[in-house]
C-alpha cells in the first residue's frame, strides 16, 4: 500500500535516491534529459512518499490519486519514483530507452503500470488532468489529481485552455505543480518566452496560488497539504527549482537539458550524490571508494 513518510529528512533521502537512479538510468541509456528530471526529484518524492494515495500492487485502484507528468521528458524521475514506490522492480530502471522496454523515452501508459497518461508532446497533461478531475466529481470519488508542468511547456496555448477550464469548472481536486527551473531547451525562459509575472497569471485565471522553494521538502509537503484544503478552485504550486539540482556540474547548466552524462560524468555525479546521502564518504578529489559507487 501507499508509503507515507512524515519526516522531511527521510523524504529528502528518498529524493536523493530518485536522483541517483536518474543518473544511473541516463548514464546507462546514453540519452535523455537530466536537467529537468533532477529539478523535480524533490517534488516527486513528496508526492509519492507523503501526499499521494495509491496501491502499487493494484495500480488501477479506483480511489488512487492520479499523477500526470505533463513534462514527459522528465520521465526518468517518475520512473525512479514509481520503482521506489514498488510499482515495478528497480532493476527494470536500467532498461530505460532500450528496445522493448516498458520505460520508453517518454511515458507510455500502455506499457508501464502506474502511468495515468502518455506524454511527451508538451502542453497536453493539464487537459487530461481536467478530465480526471471532472470524472472524480461525476463519479463522486475522493481522489485528487496532480499534474506536473514545466515552465517551458506552459508556452503551449493548450495549457492555458486547460487553466481556464479547470477554473471554470471549479476543480478543487486538481493541483498543478510548476517545476519552475527557469530554463527551456534553447535558453532561459526569460530569453525565450517570459511568463513573468507568473503567479499573477494563474491568480487572474482564478487559481489558488502558492509559491515555494521546490527543493525545500518542508515547504513542498506543506504546500501539498494546503492544496487539499483549497475549495471551489484549482490550485497551483509554483515550485522555484534549479535545473540539474543535486549534481554540481549540472546545476543551472542548460547543456544538460537533453544530453545524458558521459561515463565519467555519471561516475562523478553518483559520487556526489552518494556523499550527499552519507556526508562521511571521502571526497573524489582525494580518491578511493569511488569506482564502486560509480558503477552502473
Amino acid at each position: 500500500m501507499t508509503i507515507k513518510i512524515q519526516s522531511a529528512e527521510a523524504l529528502c533521502a528518498k529524493a536523493l535516491e530518485i536522483r541517483r537512479e536518474i543518473i544511473r538510468m541516463l548514464g546507462e541509456a546514453g540519452s535523455g534529459h537530466p536537467g529537468g528530471s533532477l529539478s523535480c526529484a524533490d517534488i516527486l518524492a513528496a508526492l509519492y512518499f507523503n501526499a499521494m494515495n495509491y496501491d502499487p500492487k493494484n495500480p488501477k485502484w479506483e480511489d488512487r490519486d492520479r499523477f500526470i507528468l505533463s513534462k514527459g521528458h522528465g520521465a526518468p524521475a517518475l520512473y525512479a519514483a514509481l520503482a521506489l514506490a514498488g510499482f515495478f522492480a528497480k532493476e527494470m530502471l536500467l532498461t530505460l530507452r532500450k528496445l522493448g522496454s516498458p520505460l520508453q523515452g517518454h511515458p507510455d501508459m500502455r506499457r508501464l503500470p502506474g502511468l495515468e497518461a502518455s506524454t511527451g508532446s508538451l502542453g497536453q497533461g493539464l487537459s487530461i488532468g481536467v478530465g480526471c478531475a471532472l470524472n472524480q466529481r461525476l463519479m463522486k470519488k475522493n481522489y485528487r489529481t496532480f499534474v506536473l508542468l514545466s515552465d517551458g511547456e506552459i508556452n503551449e496555448g493548450q495549457t492555458w485552455e486547460a487553466v481556464a477550464s479547470a477554473a471554470h469548472f471549479k476543480l478543487d481536486s486538481l493541483t498543478a505543480i510548476l517545476d519552475y527551473n527557469k530554463f527551456q531547451l534553447d535558453d532561459s525562459t526569460k530569453k525565450i518566452l517570459d511568463f513573468e509575472p507568473m503567479a499573477d497569471k494563474w491568480r487572474a485565471f482564478n487559481w489558488a496560488v502558492r509559491e515555494i522553494d521546490g527543493h525545500n521538502m518542508k515547504e513542498i509537503v506543506e504546500a501539498l497539504a494546503w492544496a487539499k484544503q483549497v475549495k471551489n478552485q484549482p490550485s497551483i504550486i509554483i515550485a522555484h527549482t534549479v535545473k540539474g539540482k543535486g549534481v554540481s556540474f549540472m546545476e543551472n547548466n542548460n547543456e544538460f537539458h537533453g544530453v545524458a552524462p558521459t561515463r565519467e560524468e555519471t561516475a562523478k555525479a553518483l559520487a556526489e550524490l552518494a556523499r550527499a546521502a552519507s556526508p562521511g564518504l571521502p571526497d573524489p578529489a582525494a580518491g578511493g571508494g569511488l569506482n564502486k559507487l560509480g558503477e552502473k
Binding site: D108, M109, R110, E116, A117, S118, T119, G120, S121, Q124, G125, L126, S127, I128, G129, V130, G131, C132, A133, L134, N135, L138, M139, G157, Q158, E161, A162, A164, S165, H168, F169
Partner: protein, 322 residues
C-alpha cells in the same frame, strides 16, 4: 421500382437524437462540445443529461485532452465540433492523448465535406478522412443517412477503440429502411450488378444509387456498395466485387488524396488489381454556395459518377487485352 429521392434528417440531427437514447441506456456516456452544440446537435444530450455534458468553450485541443482524461477513467466520451476544427486544430491531441495510448474517445464531428454550403471553405472539412485514417487504431466512419447514423452511433459506443465519425449539415436523402442493421467495418451492398462496382460513402451513396439506375437503362449493371467504414476497410466485400466486376468507381465528399479512394486503391493494388476511377474533390478548396451548387461545381453528383463509369468501363476493356 424507380429510386425516389426522399430527404431525411441531416446526419448531424440523427446523431443528436441517437446520443440522447444512448445516454438513457449507458450511464458512462458523457458528451463534450466546443461551443457548437446547437450546430453539432449535441445540445439535446446536454438538456437531457446536464451533469454528463461539458461545454468546453471554443477550445478544441483542450476538449480532446479532457475527453481523453475522462475516457482513461472509464467514461465513454463523445466529443463534437465541426470536423475541420476538431480534427485539424486538435490533431496532435488526437495523436498523443487518444490514438497513441489507445484511449476510448469517440469523435463525432459535423459539417463534413463541402455540403456545409454557404459558410465557405473555412468551415468545410475535406481532409478529415486522410488525417484520421493515418492515426493508428482509429476507426473512421462516414454514414449515408439518418438510419445508418443512428445505428452506427450505438455501435461505436460498444467498441473500445478510438472512433472518428463524420456527420453532415444538410438533410440527407434516405437510403435505408429503419430496420436495416449495421456493423462497423462491414459494408452494405445496396444493389447487385456484374459490370462495375460503385463504392461510396456519405451523401455520395445516394448519388451512386441514382447513377446505377441510369446505367441500368443502358443495360449496364452496377453494384452499389455503401463503404460507411473507411477503416477498417471491408476487404471481403472488395474481394467479392473485384472478382466479379474488375471495375470500381470510388465516390466520396473528400479530397482525392488520402480518402476512401486511396484506401480502396491500396487494397486493390496488393490483392486484385482492378480498373478504377475516383469521384472526389480534386485537390482544391471549395467556396460559398448552396450545397447542391457546390456538389455540382466540384464534381460530386450522379452525373460525375456516370462519366467516371464510362471511363472505367472503357479502360477495363482496353486493359483486358494487355
Amino acid at each position: 421500382m424507380a429510386l425516389e429521392k426522399k430527404l431525411g434528417l441531416a446526419t448531424r440531427d440523427a446523431y443528436g437524437k441517437a446520443l440522447v437514447e444512448l445516454g438513457k441506456i449507458n450511464p458512462d456516456v458523457v458528451v463534450l462540445d466546443a461551443d457548437l452544440s446547437k450546430s453539432t446537435k449535441t445540445g439535446a444530450f446536454g438538456k437531457a443529461f446536464p451533469e454528463r455534458f461539458f461545454n468546453m468553450g471554443i477550445q478544441e485541443a483542450n476538449m480532446v485532452g479532457v475527453a481523453a482524461g475522462l475516457a482513461s477513467q472509464g467514461r465513454i466520451p463523445f466529443l463534437s465540433s465541426f470536423a475541420c476544427f476538431v480534427i485539424c486544430k486538435s490533431y496532435d491531441q488526437l495523436r498523443m492523448a487518444v490514438a497513441y495510448p489507445e484511449i476510448n474517445v469517440k469523435v463525432v464531428a459535423s459539417h463534413g465535406g463541402i455540403s456545409v454550403g454557404e459558410d465557405g471553405a473555412s468551415q468545410q472539412s475535406i481532409e478529415d478522412v486522410a488525417l484520421t485514417t493515418s492515426l493508428p487504431g482509429f476507426v473512421v466512419i462516414i454514414p449515408a443517412d439518418q438510419y445508418s447514423t443512428e445505428k452506427l452511433t450505438y455501435k461505436i459506443a460498444e467498441t473500445k477503440s478510438p472512433v472518428y465519425m463524420r456527420t453532415g449539415r444538410p438533410k440527407a436523402p434516405i437510403v435505408y429502411s429503419p430496420a436495416q442493421t449495421f456493423e462497423i467495418g462491414k459494408a452494405v451492398r445496396l444493389r447487385e450488378g456484374s459490370d462495375v462496382t460503385l463504392i461510396a460513402n456519405g451523401l455520395l451513396v445516394f448519388e451512386a444509387l441514382l447513377a446505377a439506375e441510369k446505367l441500368a437503362e443502358k443495360e449496364i449493371h452496377a453494384s452499389v456498395v455503401d463503404m460507411h467504414t473507411i477503416k477498417p476497410l471491408d476487404h471481403a466485400m472488395l474481394l467479392e466485387e473485384a472478382r466479379k466486376t474488375r471495375a470500381f468507381v470510388v465516390c466520396e465528399e473528400h479530397q482525392i488524396w488520402g480518402g476512401l479512394g486511396s484506401a480502396v486503391a491500396t487494397w486493390a493494388a496488393s490483392n486484385l488489381p482492378t480498373t478504377m476511377e475516383f469521384v472526389a474533390i480534386q485537390d482544391t478548396y471549395a467556396e460559398s454556395g448552396t450545397p447542391d451548387e457546390l456538389l455540382e461545381k466540384y464534381g460530386l453528383t450522379s452525373k460525375n459518377i456516370l462519366r467516371a463509369t464510362e471511363k472505367v468501363l472503357s479502360n477495363k476493356e482496353k486493359f483486358s487485352g494487355i
